[in-house]
């Protein structure tokens, strides 16, 4: 009733090829972006901005990256944490050694590019091996990269502790990274990356490069026969995915935890991001965001549930129950809605189209 696509005719190619061709969709997305930019920083408390929204946004960038590789190009990867670490360590190196006048986003982009290079190196085996063999091979990236950043002191400027704190950087006089930054500034800084990268991902997915990824995913031999080069396609997916992960890692270190440390990027992080992609929906930009929100909030929610019922449980019991519920929730989700939250959203939209008169 409120949401309909019928009767909307496009009279120009530009109109037909818009990113969101339906006006209501467009209005909705713009409204959400506007609220995120103008309203949330004003009304959000420090807890919400710093401990919930910031990590959710950064993890959705990582999930976007993994979704490009796994969802669009069909190459399962368990090395996300390693690529995030690559971004974090390289941006730290650049940020602490670059001239003062350069803006803070440059080291973060450089970190992303470095991660992309590493992604290409670890993507090379994907030309020979597929599926689960590849997934296990990407674990090599996870373990090797974390080891490398821990063992080579050059990356942390020979810091004695090996866990340096993120350098404070400013934009227009406001601190956006490091421990001194206000939550609002950090939030807006990360939000800018989220918006730009999400628009980029959406456009890549529906352009030539995204179509070639999907062709490789659906059947690589057939894709090769119609003239798509597997080498170029797979490596570009690895590079762009790692670029996203690298930026997420850099932001995670600079804005969220304010230190550059390897434990933030261990194998659990890789699995967390993989869960986000699967629960959110493979091959969907929206899914990366929904998955990140769901997976990040579920443990927080589970932590608070016993308190609502007035139950006092020991912390280790709570953490064990949390693991159990988390595992069960993942299995439940895979059984009930294997295409993820993005598919649920699509179903909701289809229902809304006919509401309130379904037949």
């Amino acid at each position: 009733m409120f949401y309909r696509e019928a009767g909307q005719f496009k009279t120009s190619y530009a109109g037909d090829q818009q990113m969101l061709p339906i006006p209501l969709d467009r209005a909705f997305v713009i409204a959400i972006a506007a609220i995120a930019i103008f309203v949330v920083p004003v009304i959000g408390s420090q807890y919400w901005l710093e401990s919930i929204l910031l990590p959710v946004m950064i993890l959705s960038i990582a999930a976007l990256g993994l979704n490009i590789l796994t969802g669009y190009c069909g190459q399962l990867s368990l090395g996300t944490g390693g690529f995030m670490a690559a971004g974090a360590y390289m941006s730290y190196k650049v940020a602490t050694n670059m001239p003062e006048f350069l803006p803070v986003w440059i080291p973060i982009i450089v970190g992303g590019l470095f991660a992309a290079m590493i992604g290409i190196v670890f993507g090379l085996p994907s030309l020979r091996i597929k599926g689960f063999y590849l997934a296990v091979a990407t674990l090599a990236a996870q373990f090797f990269l974390l080891w490398m950043f821990q063992k080579i002191p050059w990356f942390v400027n020979d810091s004695i502790s090996g866990v340096p704190s993120a350098p404070p950087e400013t934009i227009l006089g406001f601190y956006v990274t490091g421990p001194n930054a206000s939550p609002e500034a950090k939030y807006l800084f990360v939000l800018a990356f989220v918006i730009i990268l999400a628009i980029l991902a959406r456009n890549m997915a529906r352009s030539r490069i995204g179509r070639s990824w999907m062709a490789i995913r659906d059947m690589d031999i057939a894709a090769e026969l119609i003239g798509i080069r597997p080498l170029k396609t797979k490596l570009s997916a690895f590079a762009i995915s790692s670029f996203y992960c690298g930026i997420a890692g850099a932001l995670w270190s600079f804005c969220y935890i304010s230190t550059v440390e390897p434990t933030a990027f261990d194998i659990d992080r890789s699995f967390q991001v993989l869960f986000m992609v699967i629960v959110g929906g493979l091959g969907s930009v929206l899914g990366a965001f929904l998955g990140a929100i769901f997976i990040f909030l579920l443990p927080i929610f589970l932590n608070n549930v016993p308190a609502w019922f007035g139950l006092e449980l020991a912390t280790d019991v709570v953490s064990h129950i949390e693991l159990m519920v988390f595992g069960a929730a993942i299995i439940f989700f895979l059984i009930v809605e294997p295409h993820g939250l993005a598919r649920l959203w699509q179903i909701t939209k289809e229902k809304m189209r006919l509401w309130p008169f379904p037949h």
Binding site: L76, K130, F132, L139, I267, D316, V325, I331, I335
Partner: protein, 307 residues
């Protein structure tokens, strides 16, 4: 050369020391192979990439130690734990595998990660998360072979692993169920069409994997104590798998030995060039490099694709 070696802290090359490292490596390789074995069984019979095998090892060991701490003798705990593992296999088949039939492999893989997380929480909720020593009378003296020192416990583990493989081989070749399992591994649909009940086969194969996990858990547990890091150590079984091939039992054993010996030798003789602790990733890099030349692993089936 002497000075060079002294700078980097490389032990001077001596034959007995080389053999000591090699044998120690082979023994830890046996442990990896035990975990990899359970994995291969499940992958062959249901093409499920069972990520939870490592946690199953931990879960079995936790149960075993828990029953012993309740005052039961070791043999009774073993039987009880085996019962728990069979119950687990039935539950997994009912709750997870059956509803996910015909889903893409990645969904089943994710589901096994879910199982892993669930079991980790469940096991530690029941039995607690502190480190438990496990002593079932495995000898822990050292024996000398020439100059090289060998742990008796390692020899014992190797013996147990060989017996286990022998038993599994006999089971697969000479029993009715074993033949059915091989048929399912060969071709699901053909097996169904000659009347082999897939669901039962899955329960059996997960139970056998549970049995292997229990044996591996007892071996690992008496070496290191029963603790969560068992599940992490079991991740080392993954490079063993890609080296040996996902579908080959001899591959799991030989891959385990190669990885175990290789990483120990590399750590001792090469590790100091890189600042040590290369054990963590050495296995993966070896496996990856290997895959570049032989994508199906040492003994895996060659995948032929047709459009």
């Amino acid at each position: 050369m002497e000075a060079f070696a002294a700078i980097f802290g490389i032990p001077p090359f001596e034959l007995w020391f080389f053999f000591e490292v090699l044998i120690g490596g082979l023994m830890s390789g046996v442990m990896y192979a035990l975990v990899a074995l359970g994995f291969v069984l499940i992958f062959k019979a249901s093409s499920v990439f069972n990520f939870s095998q490592g946690v199953m090892v931990l879960f079995a060991a936790l149960n075993f130690v828990g029953f012993i701490e309740l005052g039961l003798p070791a043999w009774a705990s073993f039987i009880l734990t085996m019962g728990v593992m069979i119950l687990l296999a039935v539950t997994i088949e009912r709750v997870v595998l059956r509803p996910l039939v015909n889903q893409p492999h990645i969904s089943l893989f994710m589901a096994t990660i879910g199982i892993a997380i669930f079991l980790e929480g469940f096991g530690e909720l029941i039995w607690g998360s502190n480190i438990k020593p496990l002593n079932v009378g495995i000898p822990d003296d050292v024996v000398f072979m020439g100059d090289a020192m060998i742990q008796q416990a390692d020899l014992f583990a190797a013996a147990v692993a060989s017996v286990l493989v022998l038993v599994l081989a006999l089971f697969f070749h000479y029993t009715r169920i074993g033949r059915a399992l091989r048929a399912v591994a060969d071709d699901h649909q053909a097996a169904l069409s000659v009347g082999i009940p897939l669901n039962q086969i899955w329960i059996i194969v997960w139970s056998v994997a549970g049995f292997v996990a229990l044996v591996a858990g007892i071996m690992w547990g008496s070496k290191l104590g029963v603790q969560f890091s068992l599940a992490i150590l079991a991740l080392k079984a993954l490079p063993v798998l890609i080296l040996g091939g996902f579908t080959s039992i001899p591959g799991a054993i030989i891959g385990g030995l190669i990885i175990g010996a290789g990483e120990k030798l590399a750590e001792v003789y090469v590790g100091s060039f890189f600042g040590g602790a290369i054990e963590e990733w050495f296995a993966y890099i070896v496996a990856m490099a290997f895959l570049a030349f032989r994508p199906q692993g040492l003994f895996g089936e060659k995948i032929i694709e047709r459009v």
